[in-house]
Subunit: 159 residues, 2 copies
Amino acid sequence: MAKFKLDEIDHQILDMLIENTRVPFTDIAKKLLISAGTVHVRVKKMEDAGIIKGSSLTLDYKKLGYSFIAYVGVFLQNTSKTAFVLERIAEIPYVTVAHVTTGKFNIFCKIRARNTEHAKDVIFMLDDIESVYRTETMISLEESINDKKRLMHSIFNDL
Amino acid sequence: MAKFKLDEIDHQILDMLIENTRVPFTDIAKKLLISAGTVHVRVKKMEDAGIIKGSSLTLDYKKLGYSFIAYVGVFLQNTSKTAFVLERIAEIPYVTVAHVTTGKFNIFCKIRARNTEHAKDVIFMLDDIESVYRTETMISLEESINDKKRLMHSIFNDL
DNA sequence: GGTGAAACTTCTAATAA
DNA sequence: TTATTAGAAGTTTCACC
């Protein structure tokens, strides 16, 4: 898995696209004092290299009635059942992320739900999976950072 | 905080944009058998309503040399210092998400780093924050779900 | 609400440097 | 590698359903 050598121009293009994927290439070109064609070529190159995997909308889940976020640590009776349990977890749509982890838990999930009542249902679904021994829930009271752009800056200052 | 009433058309527009924000409105229009103008108006409405907060790129952090993900639970000596600690955490760029939580930990973070060595540095930075009592790290061995689209389907089937 | 077409903007690929 | 250019494609507005 190679590291790619992106120069300052690539970096700045990513920067602008991370904030808004629909920024016209012509705007990017104007700001960076290069041609729109160049922006196009570079974005394409990063897509071909797989650095840019895609793009997605940022939605306001609160406005959609889904304001409840919790993290759930899952303990398994038997670690060999990890793959099986992951498959079952993948069937619960309100589980948005699941990681196999070292440390306290075997599997670690993030869930998004309407409210505590709904979250309870989701957690029960997790508890009901065969070979899940028990779960431990951490309810998010407040989300305070989520800064992709700043991470990118750090990454680029490293390279 | 009002719930918005999105109809099936809005839902399908979001669906397509979630997968790729640069899908031309003309393509969406063709698929949904409506005019491009309508797509434009509806997207604008959802933006104005704040349901669509923005858009962002999905990058391959592995290819950028950042393959290490861990979750870190933070214990505070004094809960009243939560805001202060969050500010300090916000200064560490490799911490990509932080939540104030109920349950075991006071604050719960996700970090992204180059490797174990680098992660250790980041965790030390967390440990060094005044009034952080101790931390507990869970290293992600494997990330297995991250399906925004499926969540959206569930949300829409609810409404 | 939606449409369709016009006017405007952007994209993209080929060519040239 | 980058810039230019021109035709293709997409966006946005608006008069009219």
